[in-house]
Subunit: 107 residues, 2 copies
Amino acid sequence: MKEFDPNFAHTVYFWLKNPDSQEDRKAFETSLGKFLENSDFAKTKFIGAPPRASRDVVDGSFTYSLIVTFESAEAQKSYQDEAPHKLFINESENLWSKVIVYDSTSI
Amino acid sequence: MKEFDPNFAHTVYFWLKNPDSQEDRKAFETSLGKFLENSDFAKTKFIGAPPRASRDVVDGSFTYSLIVTFESAEAQKSYQDEAPHKLFINESENLWSKVIVYDSTSI
């Protein structure tokens, strides 16, 4: 098995206000993609959405997920303060009704 | 920025019944580590815990996080059915009080 061993993982689940609006989805995806493209600190990125077929034990109610990993907690802190991050929040916060964020350091 | 582009990400947050018990933590970490070591399907893995310093917007109440990625939704399904997965659940489900699972396909 390939190891995936960053020091810090930041995962975010977004619930859009209008998950069926193609316009809102495109605006969100464009804004998030631009942010990650311009980040100096994110080591790896993953943007996802719930699969069509899900299982009972799984929370498939979110609209988008984001997994970003970092070399260190310090790099994650720098990412939080980056101008592209602030721009993404300004551009897109009106699109979502709920966000859940989990931060993890590798054990 | 390095791309991290699996097709499927499976993230799990575990709340242990006794997060301060070193014995329970060791049992959980050993069981989870053994499972991932023996999985034929997980492409990459990350086992984490909340960082000491957290931010207001972050849910830092969980005890352990797991991020596993797969080549495909089919590989993830195979992983769910693997003997090492079932053994992990049998060994460890008495240790946790709550689990949240999110599945995502890459957009």
